[in-house]
Structures are given as C-alpha cells and as structure tokens.
C-alpha cells in the first residue's frame, strides 16, 4: 500500500515538557519519524559555573521538578565523590528511603494520571473522577503517602530541603517513621494490590509491539539497584560509573534541543523496563509475583510494558521502604551533622536510577569548592534515540490503521517511556574555559 501520512502532534500532552511527534510518509516510504524536542534550552551549565558545593544540588534539583529528588541525590553523590566527603550508613538508608518514595510517587502518577486515561479512552484523569472515583482516590492516596515520605524525610517532596552534601540538615523523628511504616503496610500495600488488579484489567489495551534493543541500567551486587551501583548493559555487561561517557556518547540532532545518546547499537533503553530486564530477580518476591500477574516477564521487549514494570516497582518500593525503616529504627536514629569538610578537590561522578532511568552527574571542583566543570546526562535524553527507532519500526507495522489510531499509538508509545522533556534539555556537557 502506498500511503501518504503526515502526523504532527504539537506539544504532546500528559508528558513533562514540550515535545512534538513528527511523522512523514510519502507513498509508503517513511521519511521522518521522530520525537522533536522543542522545549527551550535552559543552560544549567552556565548557572553552575563558579557555584559552591553548597549550592550545586539546590540548582540541579531545579533541572526537573518531577525528578528533583533524583537530581539532588545524584548531585550530592557526585559532589561527595569529588570532595571526598564520607557519609554515614544512616544517610545512605535515608536516601534510599527517599528514592523509594520518589519512585513510588512518580510511577503511580504515570500509571494512573498519564497512562491510564489512554487505556480508558479518556483525555485526562479528571473525567475518571466521575467514572472511576475509587480508582482515582486510591491513586491520590498512594501519591499522598509517597509524597509524605518526601515531606517528612526531606522537608518537601518537590525540591527537597534536608539532603545536603555529607548528610541531612534534619533527621526525621522515630515516631514519624513509624507512622509512615504503618501507612505503608495498612494503606499502600492493599492499594498496591488493587493497582495490580486494575492493571490486569487494562492489559488488553496495551499494544502488542516488540523491538529488541539494548537495556541499560545500574546494577548492584546486593539489591535492586536504585541508589548507586555499576552501569550494566544487556548487550555488553558492566562498566564502572566513572566511565559513563564511554556508554553515553552524546550527539546533537537537529530536531531536538536535547542531545541523543548511543552505546553498542544506534540507541538504547533506560527506565523501569531496563531495570526490570537487567535486575528483576533482585526485586522483592511480592513485586516479582505482581509483575508476572500483570503479564510482565523477564526479557520483555515491548516498550509499552514500561508502565507495567513501573507498577511492579511501586510494589517493590512499598515493601523495601518498610525494610529500610525497620533497619533505621533498630539501629536508632542519630542526630548527625552533615560532613561538609572536603578532603580533596577535583572530579566526581554520581549515578542513580531515577524513575525514568539512569542519571549521571559529573562535576569538577576547584580548590575553593567551586564548580569549574559540570555535566549531566538525563534518562529521557538517553531514551530519545530509542523512541525514534521504535517509531521507525512501529509506523510501517500499523500503517493500515487510521491516521487517528496511528497518532494515538504513537502518543501512547512516547508516554510509555514517561519522558521528562523538561529534564532532557537542561544540561549538556560543557567545558568551562576559564
């Protein structure tokens, strides 16, 4: 069939930031299929120049409000690496708890507010308040608890306050943590189970599309990697975080204010599905069982299943948070002051898994503790090439559908990646020439 197709979704909805889907087919030949990133660049690198290590995380957290905790913690890890700041076990545990809270929040938001309306044929979550009130209330409840973890441990879920280089400016009270634990077990866990049921009922609406690609995430010897670890590629195995540039290989494309990346192939996948494919056996058992119930198996090559992997992670975060709280309480909360005395100056790299995938921050400090060079590589930026490759495979496969249906499939594809476009345009590698 020789078909002409011209799709231009201007400012795609229900994603963070501004992107357009552009597809162009002439007489059955696909000329263009890509996600064009039109968000104005924000030039964080210029802002970072000369800033003190006390300010770095405050600034980089503003790269993205959606992933602000991820940026903040990754920035702190990079700074601590560069300045040789040792942190305590308690700090690490509290950070992991925060990551769980943020991941839970983000995954619930994506699954219920951004993706679910597609499955239910609604334009947004708001009409669902009338038609599926209990589902909406459940989503709100789960989100509230996730945000309360952020509010209590870090002062504020969006742009957290207490995590600073070397530790925390305030340690939560025991009673506050116990209350979170109670709510995790009494509210979030049953809600999580219900969520799995809801997702099972929607599974039929998930498009069947497969494209095998390279999956990149962190890998940790002892746990499902969210906070630190080694870089792991499903194609070629482990790479130390310090060598991340060998993996990311950024390049500029004209249709995007955000740079693209590639490693062993023309593109790679980061995010919940990559974490699942690389590390699923390290999830808590209940989460693995949940995944299976929702039809998600290891080595899944359907990008639409990313949403399902996020739901499985939500269950993991709920249960693993309880474990962390138990350890914190058992060890006794200590009123530690952040360790902010540098033992060296120079370069440091930090990497964590944030909801949308693997994130890198890389700073070089002068011996006054001010930044001379900074680089951040953001998950959504790393997914852009993969999204474009998916589109190029997907469009010919669904060519027989109507233009509206094709558009919806493409929109759902992009949304499945849970792209955070605001993030992706905000930080690009740069050398400051003094």
């Amino acid at each position: 069939m020789s078909r002409d197709l011209n799709i231009n979704v201007h400012h795609l909805t229900r994603v963070e930031g501004h992107g357009n889907i552009v597809v162009n087919m002439k007489e059955g030949v696909l000329e263009t299929a890509h996600l064009s990133i039109v968000e104005p660049p924000r030039f964080f690198e210029a802002m970072m120049k000369g800033r003190s290590f006390h300010e770095a995380a405050i600034i980089t957290s503003r790269i993205c409000g959606i992933c602000s905790l991820g940026h903040q913690l990754t920035s702190l890890v990079a700074t601590e690496d560069a300045l040789g700041l040792e942190i305590s076990e308690q700090t690490v545990l509290l950070r992991k708890l925060l990551i769980h809270g943020a991941t839970l929040q983000s995954n619930v938001l994506h699954a219920y507010f951004l993706a679910a309306p597609d499955f239910l044929n609604a334009g947004s979550v708001f009409p669902l308040i009338a038609t599926h009130k209990d589902v909406v209330l459940r989503a709100l409840r789960m989100k509230r608890l996730a945000n309360d973890i952020g509010d209590i441990v870090s002062g504020r879920a969006v742009h957290p306050i207490t995590p600073v280089p070397g530790g925390f400016t305030r340690i939560p009270e025991k009673a506050e943590l116990l209350e979170i634990k109670r709510r995790l077990l009494e509210e979030a866990l049953p809600d999580g189970v219900e969520t799995i049921e809801t997702m099972k009922s929607l599974a039929g609406a998930i498009p069947q599309f497969e494209r095998e690609t390279e999956y990149i995430s962190l890998k940790h010897p002892e746990e499902y990697a969210l906070y630190q670890g080694d870089i792991f590629s499903s194609d070629s195995g482990s790479v130390p975080v310090h060598n991340y540039l060998d993996v990311t290989n950024e390049f500029i494309v004209e249709h995007s204010t955000s740079k693209h990346t590639k490693y062993n192939r023309s593109s790679y996948f980061v995010g919940a599905l990559a974490r699942w494919n690389n590390n699923s056996s390290q999830m808590v058992d209940e989460a693995q069982a949940a995944a299976e119930a929702m039809g998600l198996k290891p080595n899944c090559h359907n990008p639409y299943m990313n949403t399902i992997a996020q739901v499985a992670e939500a269950v993991h975060c709920i249960l693993d948070s309880v474990r962390i709280i138990d350890i914190l309480i058992e060890k006794g909360l200590k009123n530690e002051k952040p360790n902010q005395t540098p033992t060296r100056y120079g370069r440091g790299v930090g990497s964590n898994e944030v909801p949308r995938g693997i994130l890198f921050h890389d700073y070089t400090y002068d011996n006054k503790g001010n930044i001379v060079k900074a680089n951040c590589i953001i998950p959504t930026g790393q997914n852009l090439a993969n999204i474009d490759d998916d589109m190029k495979k997907l469009v010919p496969e669904i060519m027989n559908k109507s233009k509206e249906e094709i558009t919806l499939d493409l929109e759902m594809l992009v949304r499945a990646y849970d792209p955070c476009i605001s993030c992706s345009v905000h930080m690009l590698e740069v050398d400051f020439i003094e």
């Binding site: 938001l109 989100k143 002062g155």
Partner: protein, 244 residues
Amino acid sequence: MKPQVAFFDFTSCEGCQLNKLNLENDLLDILKHVDIVEFREAMDDKADHYDIAFIEGSISSPSCVERIHDIRRRSDILVALGSCAVNGGINAMKNLHPIDEVRETVYGKDKYLFATLPAMAVSSVVKVDYEVRGCPMNQQDFLKLLIALVLGKQAPKYNSPVCVECKLKENECLYNRGMVCLGPVTRGGCDALCPSFGQFCTGCRGILSNPNLDGMLEIMTNHGISLDEAKKRMLLFNSNEVQL
C-alpha cells in the same frame, strides 16, 4: 458558573505543575470550585477562553513570547506561578553571562540551531494580575489565592521577611549555628520551611520590596563567607531582581 481555569508551562522544571497534582487531599475540593479546561501535563483538552490562566515558567525564547501574548489575550485573570514565572527564578542565573557565550558553551558551532532569549519574568512580557511565589510554588499559597479568587477578594501579598515566620515557630536561628541565611531579606509566606528543616533560606520567594541589601551583605560576610560568595548566594533565585 464555575470559573474556567487553565495551566500553562513555559521554561521551568514543571515542579510547580507537579506541586498542584501533589495537592492530593485538596484536589477534589478544588475541582468543586473550578473547571480545569487546559492542563497539558495532565490532559488533552484545549480551550479558547480562560477566566483564570496560571502560568508557570520563565519566558526565554521568541516562541514563548508569542505564546504568552496569545494566552494573555484569551485570559481574564493571569497568575504567575512559582519563581520562574514571578521573577525568572533560577533560570535567570544564565542572564548573568553574555547570552552568546552561554549558547556557544553548550552547543558549540551549532549554537544558532536553537533560539533563546534572556530568561524573563512573565510580567516583563505581559500584564500579570497575581503571583504565587516560591520554588516550587507554595501549595498553601496557591490554595489561598484560588480561594481568594473564588471569593472575589484580593490575594494575599507577602512583604514580610521569612525571619518573622521563623521566629514565630521558635526555630533556632541558623546564624547561631554558623550558617548563612537569606531569611532577613526574603519574602515570607512559606512558613519558614527551609530554616525549619535546618537548611538556609535560599531566597526563592524573592527579595522584599524595599530591602537593605548592603546591610544583608554585611551580615553574611560577618558570618564567615566572602563578599563574592554572599553576592552569589543572593543571586541564586534573584538574578533578575537585584543588582549587586
């Protein structure tokens, strides 16, 4: 009829958008007062006229300028949400460097591919009726403004320093802990959130209308940081607002 409300985002981190979706406990009450007719981040719909348009983010490209004019034309009341929109916020830090240099450092020879302007407050392009300050915008503030608009009363204005709320909460002053804090010259209304959590005030709600900046710099340098650092600190969220 309920007011028709829309949300728009410009150059920003979208944290303010998220902060509205994070009003879980109040979201359903809010929806009793207003109809949300446009909210790209959460829904597909578009509308032609808005009783209240909430704007997040700074204006930083020619296409932003066009879009904000268009929104203003179609809105009765226009509210700037969050530091980026109110005064340029953290984005405005880039204005401290010559713009061409900034573009070149990032994109090299490809710098002309992507148009950019200095990061501007919404109010420096179109008329802004109300503002909700903070980075991210303060949720309680946002609710207060919304209720005020629903009741037809004027929105609260904040022109008292963060220290006031900090004192009312009986926090130990960070200056007594050897830290440096921007609370004395920063607009309150945040319930002194950062100092209450042991962190210095970063000035995210903007500087008071009639500040003693020299006095503030002197306080900071008397507490152990250099003048240069003190100035940088003050500019963190206020590069467009203060001249140092």
